[in-house]
């Protein structure tokens, strides 16, 4: 199975509910995944206000364009992460020439969500540990290349130029890192 763990029937059920206009399903999905998605936005944008804006845009799109989600192409979480990353990188590029005025300020956020299902939090923690362990098995340069690709949206040639590495090395690092992640998730 894709990702090495069963697709949570809950997420699929929630997406169907959202497609049918179920606000409760939408609220549960938001509580369940907004912490991780917000961390992606903050990592990419380095600005709390912009990160929150993107998070709202993403979930607004989830609500208004629920028909865009195709279960045959991947899990709801994969869809949410992909959408969030795409929107955040687009925003990051559009403001690249106009640095945000506010500095990174986490004062309005909390480290735990009072609304999220404890079981989901436990599952997310477990998954996070697996991913961290897999990434920790890479050397610093491999991890740096992977993070450049994901969080900065750089092409492999742009990464090679930025890090002053051969193109082939960059591709190898990306490949090794993702294969390691893939196999770690699959072995669960």
């Amino acid at each position: 199975m894709a990702g090495g763990r069963p697709v949570s029937p809950d997420d699929l059920f929630l997406m169907r509910g959202i497609a049918a206009g179920d606000r409760k399903a939408f609220s549960i999905l938001f509580d369940r995944h907004s912490p991780m998605l917000l961390s992606i936005c903050r990592r990419i944008l380095k600005d709390a206000g912009s990160a929150e804006d993107i998070l709202m845009d993403v979930f607004f799109e989830v609500w208004t364009r629920a028909d865009r989600y195709d279960a045959s192409r991947g899990t709801p979480l994969t869809y949410l992460v992909t959408l969030t990353r795409s929107r955040a990188i687009d925003r990051q590029r559009s403001v690249a020439s106009h640095p945000p005025e506010s500095s990174f300020s986490p004062d309005n956020s909390t480290q735990t969500s009072p609304q999220a299902d404890p079981l989901q939090i436990a599952n997310a923690n477990e998954q996070g540990q697996i991913v961290r362990a897999a990434l920790a098995g890479l050397d610093t340069q491999q991890r740096q290349v992977l993070e450049c690709a994901f969080y900065e949206g750089l092409s492999h040639s742009e990464i090679a130029e930025k890090l002053q590495k051969p193109l082939g090395t960059v591709k190898t690092y990306i490949r090794q890192g993702l294969i390691r992640l893939r196999d770690s998730l699959r072995s669960r």
Binding site: S39, R43, G74, N108, T110, Q111, H156, I179, L185
Partner: protein, 264 residues
């Protein structure tokens, strides 16, 4: 290249780290409906999407959710929760389009094509209160609309395939849109391929060449619905045929013939 070799390339595909020719080769292969590579692609996407799970999650401030719920509340006023109205807003325009398509006839269309048009209309008019059926119907309706669009094209040719002794209950047809150079394969009544095997469709030229078109599987009703691009320089075609082959397909037929249809 085998699908096993493509498995590791797919992670680079997802990360946007392939050059243009590699990316195009994979894209075309995936477009042919390779089930093995589709599953591997989903796996690669999941690995890519797992990267941020190493970050510490940060819960948004409560006002973020409040503002969001207000925002969707405004949107919701314009989209009633009524399931019936949602069905009406989506399927009736499609039913009208399908209804219009029914009255379009063409001199070369056979009764089988007319039957497919009727099926497209019937599908558009089927209603269901279950969310899963609605999604399935919407997906199916979209496919039927595409089919009707193909059938309306003057350069459309129909190829009927019959089951061999190995598929006595099967029948199939190919709708060949010569304008766009695409085949749409529709099967019914096929048995599932043996374990470890898949079905493979072949272009057979008048010169006797057998060129792989696509691999496919069938659902529990023995149905398949596949789109295939016909290579532009393939030359005159004589037959369309289906064999059973190892998973991932093979470059030349090795298995047993399942379906065959002559191309006039």
């Amino acid at each position: 290249m085998t699908c096993e070799e493509r498995r590791d390339l797919l992670v680079l595909y997802i990360a946007g780290a392939l050059d243009a020719s590699e990316r195009e080769e994979l894209r075309l292969h995936l477009a042919r409906g390779c089930s093995v590579c589709s599953e591997n692609l989903a796996e690669a996407k999941a690995a890519w999407a797992a990267i941020p799970q190493a970050l510490d999650p940060v819960s948004p401030a409560p006002r973020v959710k409040e503002r969001l719920l207000e925002r969707i509340g405004e949107k919701s006023d314009r989209f009633p929760d009524s399931l019936g109205l949602r069905i009406f807003r989506v399927l009736v325009p499609a039913a009208v389009a399908a209804g219009i398509a029914v009255v379009v006839t063409h001199a070369t269309l056979s009764p089988r094509i007319h039957q497919l048009q009727m099926q497209a209309n019937a599908s558009a008019l089927m209603l269901s209160s279950q969310d899963r059926q609605i999604e399935s119907l919407q997906a199916g309706l979209s496919k039927q609309q595409q089919l009707v669009a193909m059938l309306r094209t003057p350069q459309t040719k129909l190829i009927e395939l019959a089951g061999t002794d190995r598929q006595p209950a099967a029948n199939a047809c190919i709708v060949w849109d010569q304008k766009t150079g695409r085949w749409r394969l529709l099967t019914a009544g096929m048995t599932s391929p043996p374990a470890g095997k898949t079905y493979e469709l072949w272009f057979v030229t008048k010169a006797g060449q057998k060129i792989p078109a696509t691999t496919f599987n069938v659902n529990s009703d023995g149905e398949a619905d596949m789109m295939v691009d016909v290579p532009p320089d393939i030359g005159p075609l004589a037959l369309a045929t289906v064999t059973d082959e190892p998973l991932g397909g093979v470059p030349q037929p090795t298995g047993n013939f399942q379906l065959t249809g002559k191309i006039e």
